[in-house]
Symmetry: D2
Subunit: 337 residues, 4 copies
């Protein structure tokens, strides 16, 4: 931590800052210039972050130099983590595509979609049983019934299943049925839910919040890991900006940024980023080229009848064509799909 | 709903759209131009919103014309709602200031701060017992113990108390102690929590999410109201933008915008918007001038020792001076404080 | 400037950084911790900013501690600057409102609007002769003819006139007619134009760019001042965010922020911020309450016929009513209007 | 254009709107519902856009349905435009990389960098002679001298040259030396400059503004094309968001979006988007995968000595390695480099 003092800071003020640094277990180093005095606090910043140094008399600026997360940081574990369930592992040479409808709307549609995405090469099935919808009047999910259909689809196809959790009270139920537990963008900062997810061992797919920085996303992952579950897969799904042609703005640079900052796998959801079916193909290709470990794609066997996100859902045929192309690109990039 | 067809849309495509509109219980009105055909769907848009018209063949654009929320809309209830507890009612002539520390850190500090904000004219005490912190290593709140201290402070001062809820499982506990239940910015889209809050009658202070539009905020309020609790007080606390001088960007225009769009009261939290103590005064004055029904201000009896948000907390003396000024401004504006 | 080295930085790398600091005329101060070495560079950062220290081997982070602007900084001149023309001076006790149409559309409309805003209490007339329009098919302004109408309106009413410049080639012409030269948001980073404006003495009204931080705005002002013209009045007019209820998001906190950081006056343009007539009143009141030195308001004698920005223009009667209210608020705030 | 009337709109108000529509040469189509009346205005929206329909009595919302640009739209010219100089043509099967230093700092460095990027496979050389810098104290460019060095580098290497224009007064000079004229992000809305660029035939590389939507970018291109120069190449270089790990947020979806909306070529500048050297490789690969027609990359023979943008400049060796990889990816994608 660097503490920059105001031009006229008194000796008493400087001493007071030094005391606070020492009280937090860090060692102060003083640099006196003609105009400014600067104090470097050497040691573990974690304790020092809790002290509101900014408001001490004579203090002008406080600049942290350590990252606020630890266990998810690349420094903590230099090799990439390979995380998943069964043989659907993210972060290694092999890429995986999780595909399926936004919501589980019924047994038939789910089974049919599952068979088709499996045939096209997906290794896991997505489908919401609990749906976070901005409008209280929109379809809210089949809940337990939806989870049972997912399990049935796994049985029928061999696909692993991935579904979203919104409420800690559903954890036992979701944990019983799902192979991957997804935390949606709107719950990325639902810290109580994150802590609860630290108590299970299932891999968590943690989506980036609409206004979350990469640092915020890593801090949310740290919550889960620090609470006991090291199995976190990050997901870039677009951030909210002023651009309104797309539903969100896919921050493609977040993929290599996360690869640099963290050992955790990172996948991309082009469907929610774009919000329009015609952009899913180029965004999927770009995601792989940028180094993503996998994709999460919405596919619906009949988007016209979809209860949510129809406009951004691929039809199974379109998905099959895309998978062909992705498989070739993966091979070109030295990976497998 | 307006459906604009593509230049070359066929009669079969037009008929298909018309069928979908009728199936949703709306009446289609066709306008054929030389280049374009436009269909107006007259009736209740709620059902039509669930149909993914955008992806029907021949459709170019779909434009909703009704607001997606109902019960919180000004049209639903033309007179302003006056909402609160005891005689701390927001939305009428009288303004209220809720003040107190970010977190309840201990019994003494809370009681002392409570007495001082009461003396300065606050009518309710804020203080977090459950704290949403971006870092898992930051102080997370005293939980039940914190709630008991708040109740004790109410007993001692007569101030009503306002505290945040983060998890539906805490509702019974929080509802037992709090007079106002706060939903923080990071939980504005925690729809399960919102629904649960519809089952109590306590007034809910619903803070705007970091990347939520005014429409999103009203939809979240609709969740609570549609679930049975009409007592919602909205709170503007800044949105996330590229500007980094302040912690967030206070969207002052949201105050009159919400007054136009909704009958619910709207208050402003200048502390979280600014993130710096020196801006709280001008932002508080601006909020009142823009028509806010109240303020939520962080005050700590010893900000240097605060476990969170010290830099943005006023000291009791600064708060008392500000209250003097706010009281005069309120009177000038034809209101009372 | 603080240079934080990577954990394993070698002595040779440290020496190389130290050389660069000394070569730029600064003095290095070394703090060695167990994990990290930190170098504080004491002296004038301006020279050091030109050195890409970030890419020197062994360097992890570089953190500037001085502000990148000088002459516009509050430290450079502790007292507020009072800037303007004739007796229309911004930054003192007296507030001023500049009002008029978006564009000068014709002689009659300008004279009529001028007379009415004068009667209501405006002290300067705005009107664009050169118009920056996002569409090449929109009205682009009357140019020289518009400037002559402005001069005639000044003659007729005694109002000073304010008009926008878009091109350095128009400077001589605009300087001949205008009392205040406005730089629009889209030209805030047109650095060649800014430098040119340093060659005249007319007060410049510099509007904040749509994606400019407060720091960027102050740097643009520094361009003008450093080029020789100290007469700069800053103008907050909203930034671009994801919120689409308003045309832009008025950053009300920028007003007190600029008062803290700079000695230059700051005014607010509620018309462009809101983009809707019904929000101009609350935003104007909020601006004054937050400490603004004046306002820039669009008024059109017949908004229905306006060639641009009709929806955000007040009618003269609405403006007169608003001015009454602003005058009372100014008096309440200890200022005059 | 769709005009939605307020619930209680009177017949006189409806008639008034209809008159305005007819006066603008459009045909009104009325749809009366139980609650709402909607008027579709069929015909050329360009004239109607100039009428402030939003403020007519009884009008609730106005929704344009046509795009505001014409000549740059895909509908205007269904086949992609192939635009460039010599054999450096963008928009066809062949991709091109423009590489070189941020600024022309001297003769030697430019010639050396030019030779190296040529050897690596670049077909054009970038280098700023006029530099837009946010600080007035930063290096502003060698101006005419810089242009002459660029011409000499072209002579020596056969690379075409690309340089930025900031001021219409420099057009004759820049046009004499440059093969491609670049408009920087900060001048994308410098409409006077854009119009002036319509008077030459040189291809213009138009960079997206920091807060410009895709629609805004296309409107700026329309300015140039409508002014007489059809040779416009668009460039995505990142937009400003709250994410601060990167200098800007590369909006990768803008590439396929522009391919859908326009016939103009689109290239990507990963250097300014990222602001950090280590992200240039993944962003370049992603850009090609997303369909970009080329890249603009900063390369400096000695980034440590760069007068600007050193941290984001590749060294020639890094650039050569990247070009190898890009060449293979281009071939994989069915294109050439």
């Amino acid at each position: 931590m660097i503490i920059v003092l105001k031009p006229g800071a008194t000796q008493a003020e400087i001493d007071h800052v030094i005391e606070k640094i020492q009280a937090a277990g860090c060692t102060p180093h003083l640099s006196r210039g003609v105009e400014r005095t600067i104090i470097g606090a050497i040691g573990d910043e974690a304790a020092l972050r809790l002290v509101p140094l900014e408001i001490l008399p004579g203090v002008d600026q406080v600049m942290p130099i350590q990252k606020p997360y630890k266990m998810v940081a690349r420094e903590f574990k230099p090799d990439p983590s390979v995380i998943g369930a069964g043989d659907v592992l993210f972060g290694g040479k092999r890429l995986h595509v999780i595909a399926g409808p936004c919501a589980v709307e019924g047994r038939e549609m789910l089974l049919e979609t599952a068979r088709k995405v499996k045939a096209a090469g997906a290794t896991a099935l997505r489908g919401g049983a609990f749906k976070p919808r901005t409008s209280p009047y929109a379809f809210q999910g089949l809940e337990g019934e939806g989870l049972r259909y997912l399990a049935e689809a796994r049985e029928a196809t061999g696909l692993l299943v991935c579904t979203e959790i919104m409420d800690p009270r559903d954890l036992e139920l979701v944990d019983r049925y799902a192979d991957f537990i997804q935390v949606g963008a709107r719950n990325m900062s639902n810290f109580r839910l994150l802590k609860e997810l630290g108590t299970v061992r299932k891999p968590i797919i943690l989506k980036r919040g609409l206004s979350a920085t990469v640092k915020d996303l890593l801090l949310s992952a740290e919550y889960i890991v620090a609470s006991g579950n090291p199995n976190v897969i990050l997901c870039e799904r677009g951030i909210r900006t002023f651009e309104d042609y797309t539903r969100n703005t896919l921050d493609i640079a977040a993929v290599p940024a996360i690869k640099t900052l963290s050992h955790l796998p990172i996948i991309v959801d082009p469907s929610h980023a774009a919000g329009r079916r015609d952009l899913i193909r180029p965004l999927s290709l770009a995601a792989l080229a940028a180094g993503a470990d996998g994709l999460l794609i919405e596919v619906h066997n009949n988007p016209e009848e979809a209860s949510c996100d129809g406009p951004q859902s691929l039809r199974p045929e379109g998905f099959a064509t895309l998978m062909e192309e992705l498989r070739r690109l993966a091979a070109f990039l030295g990976r497998e799909l």
